[in-house]
């Protein structure tokens, strides 16, 4: 039985500043689109959320499971393992647990258990993408623990030539409506990672989200990840409730974390 408080819980991103501009973290019952250039950290954030949704309730999390729909082959198990390990270590650290307690958590707080709680789908075409989303309707009715669906990335398979562009728009809109339905019906979060493209507007090239015209109305919130000098930043591009604000974050060996004044660099040994 979910308490009211639990129903309003947010999924932490691992970075305090990023959580703050998101109003505490990623919201359930909402669709959040996250866009950015290659290498900025979209997949990193996706994996982080698939892990963080699993933080047990007793440690301030949702104790849920994740669905990860990988359309590009960016999900790397070894990275997910690192991120799970980092999350577990930092969570136990935060709660000031002694070593004995950590050993007692043997079963639950192990990176492999976290990996096992991610329902992974690898899809290779837009038809498979639609099929999986339709499949989820039945799947989620049986797997009530799923609290987040991540699609990485949502537009890749739609950026090829479509003979019928009107069809593409209909399919995208249908898909986003279905996802919105799922968030409400099952009280979960949907995070759509998206690529960016350049558009020549008002005399210069602007970065915009791919296929934005087709379906920009379908997401509740839109977050853009970008480079500010040598630091990664995120800003709220669109939201009914969140203020337009930006926050720095970093990608470390443990995953998404607060920005550091000195960016973490790993040199070849």
């Amino acid at each position: 039985m979910l308490s009211e408080e639990q129903m309003q819980k947010r999924i932490t991103t691992g970075c305090d500043d990023l959580d703050t501009i998101l109003g505490g973290g990623i919201h359930c019952k909402e669709v959040t689109e996250v866009g950015g250039v290659p290498g900025i950290g979209k997949t990193q954030l996706g994996i982080q959320l698939a892990v963080n949704v699993q933080i047990p309730v007793e440690y301030g999390g949702l104790g849920g499971k994740a669905v990860y729909i990988d359309t590009e082959g960016s999900f790397m198990v070894e990275r997910a393992y690192q991120v799970a390990e980092g999350c577990i270590m930092d969570t136990l650290d935060k709660f000031g647990h002694h070593r004995k307690v950590i050993l007692d958590c043997q079963e639950q707080m192990q990176p492999n258990s976290f990996l096992a709680n991610i329902f992974y789908f690898r899809i290779c075409s837009y038809t498979e993408q639609i099929a999986v989303i339709n499949y989820l309707q039945k799947f989620l009715a049986e797997q009530k623990d799923v609290k987040i669906i991540i699609i990485d990335s949502v537009t890749f398979h739609f950026r090829q030539d479509f003979d019928d562009l009107a069809l593409r728009t209909r399919v995208l809109c249908g898909m986003s409506l279905k996802l919105m339905e799922l968030t409400k019906t099952y009280n979960l979060a949907v995070v759509l990672l998206n690529q960016v493209t350049t558009k020549f507007t008002e005399g210069s090239f602007q970065l915009t989200l791919a296929l934005g015209d087709s379906w920009s109305h379908a997401c509740t919130n839109r977050v853009i990840l970008y480079w500010n000098g040598n630091e990664r930043h995120a800003y709220i591009d669109k939201s009914p409730s969140l203020r337009s604000a930006s926050a720095p974050f970093s990608v470390t060996s443990k995953g998404i974390r607060n920005a550091t004044s000195q960016c973490k660099r790993v040199r070849m040994m």
């Binding site: 290498g39 991610i118 090829q160 493209t197 090239f205 970065l207 040598n230 660099r265 790993v266 070849m268």
Partner: protein, 325 residues
Amino acid sequence: MLDPHPTSFLSQRRLENGKDAMVPIKPESPLNLPTQKLSLGCPVLDRLVRGGLPVGSVTELAGESGTGKSQICLQLLLAALRPPSLGGLSAASLYIHSEFPFPLRRLRRLLTPFAPSSVVPTPLDHIFVRPAHSPDDLLSLLTAVDALLARPPSALPVRLLVVDSIAALFRSEFDNTPADLKRRSSLFFKIAAKLKEQARRFEAVVVVTNQVVDVVGGSESYGSSGNAIRVGNYGSLWSSGRRVCPALGLSWANCINTRIFLSRSDDIVRNERALVDEESDDRVHGTVVRTRRKMEMVFAPHLPEASCEFVIVSEGVFGVEAQRA
């Protein structure tokens, strides 16, 4: 099609128990995903990429001419033949080339150190070479390749696919008009989707080489003009003293999983004891040009920012340990 019955689901093609099969869509556990990697043929370089290039993924090698892209590809063709215990895949390879001719001589030269410890008596029998002259050529080739991947002609499965280079395919066919750029971009996604599908279906490593172009105008900030939009770990990439960026723009960058940048710089080293060149007017006597080569991780979903110096010798491409001060 738009809204099939909720309980029906499409099948997808996947490798099940080593065989290419149609299976109903169902979730997988990350614990069961393939994690094999193909060694680059050198332990120092392998450390840079944490073991090697991953299967099921598209890795790009970008760099100007003469930085070692094709050489590394040849090295990978041979590495693939080695067993997993030696960092290989026990697999055959397909090398699709758009630059001519295929460097057979260089490949043969690499075979000499390879042969004694090789598990395969005739390595060249397991390397399939196909030419491609245009993007449409490549697409029809990849479609035909499905059959090759499903039923390999040699005893070994094909698990390395190299496209050398993607940039050469798009060199002449497209103008700089918005319509042509859009058409070109659509082809990138079509080609990449096909490559990724095959990487996944056959648990193969896909390597694509790319050229670089000079960076023009603009700054690195969001929304600037020119082609200087920052992609990846480095604000700027340099080679031969020029600021460059991988060709084919932001669109293509969205199509690959990992980008590795190869660069070279020619350092002039003063050598007091060298002979004076009486023929030249050059007042700077006794100089030697030393080529320094660097491999940098521009972006990868599983690798941090890192770089490594390397050399190209007749035996192949080898990483150089960083000198400690």
